[in-house]
Amino acid sequence: MDRDLVERARSGDQAAFADLVHQVSDTLLGIARRILRDPGLAEDVLQNALVTIWRKLPHLREPDRFEAWAYRILVNACYADAPHNRRWASTVRVLPIDRENDSDEYQALADRDELEQAFRRVPLDQRAVFVLHHHAGLPLVAVAEVLGIPGGTARSRLHYATRALRAAFEASRAQDHLREGRLA
């Protein structure tokens, strides 16, 4: 991230902030979308988070840490907006049943669907750790710092999110074995 750009935006330069927004918005949207599992809501949250970032920029002590600081504001915006979300259950994908061909593709779709449903049941704070670690690529120490939580907490949240996904994945594979048994 361009330190000078951050410094100028922090001083109230709206053009510099516009450049910053273009640089970070896709990354932030990706994180919000994966935590919230709702593209529309993620766009709303991103919008709120970016305006908050603008408002609070003068408080940013270290311009070099802008991204981590922005992640934190975004995740907090996710926490704040998610309880009002009533659309989560409406976007669960319906799978075709008993497709005999392209079984690999079917399996991948089934896996993804199981993971999706499992991830929606995972608490937001665990999702945030999982997404920041596995999608944004932050080490757990950095995740803990971004979220303002102890390292042990980040580790346990990651553990529980991973455990939920693994259970869903194993369930998906077990169903697939049953399906193969029926087709055989």
């Binding site: 902030f17 927004v21 918005s25 896709d26 408002r55 003068p58 665990q126 596995h134 693994r166």
Partner: protein
Amino acid sequence: MNDDQAFDQATRAFLEDGPDRTRAATIDAVLLAVRTTPQERDLRIPWRTTPMSNLMRLVTLAVLALLVIAVVAFSLRPTSGAVGGGGSPSPSSPSPTASPSALAASPSAQPTPYSIDTATWTTYTSARYGFSISHPADWFVHTTATRDWTYPADATVDMYSTALETFVNGDSSIAAAAWSVAVKSGTTLDAWIQAYCALAESSVPSDCTTMPGRTVAASMDGHAGSLVRFTQDTQAFFLVNGRIYVVAIWQAEDWIPGGVSRLLEAYLSTMHLLPGGPGPSGASPSPS
């Protein structure tokens, strides 16, 4: 492809699913809002607006020194505080000869705004390690030890080892675990803790070098031991009849009101060693 690889691949695919391109309309809306949204003022006050003279520096140092002396004198005044109570914690290394009665760890013995009532806790018995311990009723048993804890192999694994009896609270933000291991004759508690600290995954290097300052005396079922506040967790250690007993809470000290060590003390106040000791599988000697 094995299960782990398949899981990793499926998780990656799941995470990468979908576009991440922000719509132009979203960005336009943000920039429009920015035009009419003032930034918050940063109310930081500059450290110093004028240079400080040498005389002022000396006066400031003298005042600070007096303040430090006053604070130290105040904190060293005689108190009857027990472990984790409102009095100053003893920074000295653990004393196995300390009187258990002086180390009454039960929070109910010394009421504070954060005292913990263990009366409603659920008792859990570890036949493997030969103790009973209670956990808050709204916590759950996360892991029941299915094998013996061994040193040094298990000192490097995390809180979800299958060699631990682990309890987790409702939102999974805090975990407590207990286990035990036999040690060689002549092993001292301090030496064992130091060796364990050097290996423990949750430790940071400075934890081990600064351990005396992080250690206070603790008590469990009438046995004296040490409670160490590591950077990321707090653990209590006891050496009883050739076995080390460990109770750990994996969370930083300031994670809960009153401190994690107070919660750990509450756990310790409920812990009792079973008359028969550990079960047959738990009695196997460890290398240390």
